[in-house]
């Protein structure tokens, strides 16, 4: 048996669909009649994505302005270019996916898990390429300070992103939470790159990159909790 024959059988049997009661369809139409007001469709994906990236950039710069631009001052031009270009591209890709998560029927190029993996691997690769100081002074204490600072900054970024996308509708709140959390985490990492002058490779590789994963996990957990409450 070949695929065309399978198609033919499927076509034949799918014609036996049962009819829907016309009264049911009328009831559905009547139920929406009273609240049928004109609505404004959401803006195009690129507009929303651009706004999300701007929010992240603004929050990161505001955070660094408050804590000091010590990191970017010590970076060379090449390091600045490579780090912030990578962060910008990742923020665009993750932001676009976040918009897709909040608009039903959108095209998804990557699963949330794959997206998080790619973002983490890309950051690890850039940091591994640029930072070669393998000393580990105050590894845990300095690391936790950076992780907490990054995560604290991810909170306003996540809140502002949610405010922008509040008219959206998540078909999968866990995935939406994970992607939104990853985006907020990227904002936290951007602020750390502007602020943190600790260029020890392991510090940057472990603690700075962890902001994205921890923030994404927190977002997924929040999405799961909201789903359970609903």
């Amino acid at each position: 048996m070949i695929d065309e024959q399978v198609d033919e059988v499927l076509k034949r049997v799918s014609r036996t669909a049962q009819e829907v009661e016309p009264t049911l369809l009328k009831r559905v139409a009547d139920s929406i009649h009273s609240s049928l007001q004109p609505v404004r469709p959401l803006p195009p994906t690129w507009v929303l994505t651009g706004a999300l990236v701007l929010i992240c950039a603004a929050v990161a710069v505001a955070g660094a302005a408050r804590t000091g631009f010590y990191g970017i001052e010590k970076l060379t031009v090449l390091e600045r270019l490579l780090i912030f270009t990578t962060l910008g591209i990742l923020a665009w890709v993750v932001g676009r996916e976040f918009v897709a998560e909040l608009i039903p029927g959108s095209r998804h190029r990557l699963s949330p898990g794959a997206l998080l993996t790619i973002a983490s691997v890309a950051l690890l690769a850039v940091f591994a390429l640029l930072f070669r100081n393998y000393r580990t002074e105050h590894f845990v204490s300095a690391g936790i300070a950076c992780l907490v600072t990054g995560l604290l900054l991810a909170i306003p970024a996540a809140l502002l992103s949610w405010l922008l996308m509040r008219r959206g509708f998540a078909v999968n709140s866990v995935s939406a939470g994970l992607v939104g959390g990853a985006l907020a985490g990227l904002c936290g990492v951007t602020m750390l790159e502007l602020h943190c002058a600790n260029f020890q490779a392991l510090h940057v590789l472990v603690w700075h990159t962890a902001v994205v994963s921890v923030s994404a996990a927190a977002g997924a957990l929040l999405g799961w909790a909201l789903r359970e409450v609903a």
Partner: protein, 178 residues
């Protein structure tokens, strides 16, 4: 859809008449009785109505409807599972998988044919063969990639080929299952 968003009631009614039966069949096919499918259709339209601004003109419309319908179905399944679990724990009944019995005569030829497939494979076949959606549209509706949908369709067809060959279905005069 654009006229529905603009508040045009006849357009909304026409949309319900056109899409309603497809969504009803989508629910009926999965796990519910006819009464459940009726309830789910109403609930889905209320949800569609509430989030109708999330549809952007120019985008494919069927994936948008089906994505919302899938969400309603999952919510319903979760609620039903929780209720069943609670009732079972109260009655101290033995641990048995949650099932939703169908009413007599609800299982049609298509569902009988698709029964051996996994739920995700059945879902993509229904969307493609009953709703007439393309691979791209099914991918959008199920929030997955086109490659993943292609893989499911390929596996589903392989299973169906084997099943139909075993049943000699192709040669059946009525096209129905023996």
């Amino acid at each position: 859809m654009a006229r529905y968003q603009a508040g045009d009631f006849p357009a909304a009614t026409a949309l319900i008449q056109r899409i309603g039966p497809q969504l009803h069949r989508f629910f009926l096919a999965q796990f519910s009785s006819r009464a459940d499918a009726d309830d789910l259709l109403q609930e889905t339209w209320l949800r569609i109505h509430r989030v109708r601004h999330t549809y952007r003109p120019g985008e494919p419309v069927l994936p948008w409807f089906y994505a919302i319908a899938r969400r309603v179905r999952i919510d319903h399944f979760r609620r039903a599972s929780r209720t069943t679990a609670r009732e079972r724990s109260l009655e101290e009944a033995p641990d048995v998988a949650v099932t939703f019995p169908r009413e007599e005569g609800e299982l049609d030829d298509l569902e009988a044919l698709l029964a051996p497939l996994s739920e995700s494979q059945r879902e993509v076949i229904r969307m493609m063969k009953v709703a007439g959606m393309s691979l791209e549209e099914v991918a959008r509706a199920t929030s997955s990639s086109v490659g993943s949908v292609k893989q499911k369709v390929h596996r589903a067809y392989r299973n169906l080929r084997e099943q139909m060959s075993a049943l000699g279905l192709k040669k059946g005069p009525s096209g129905g299952l023996p």
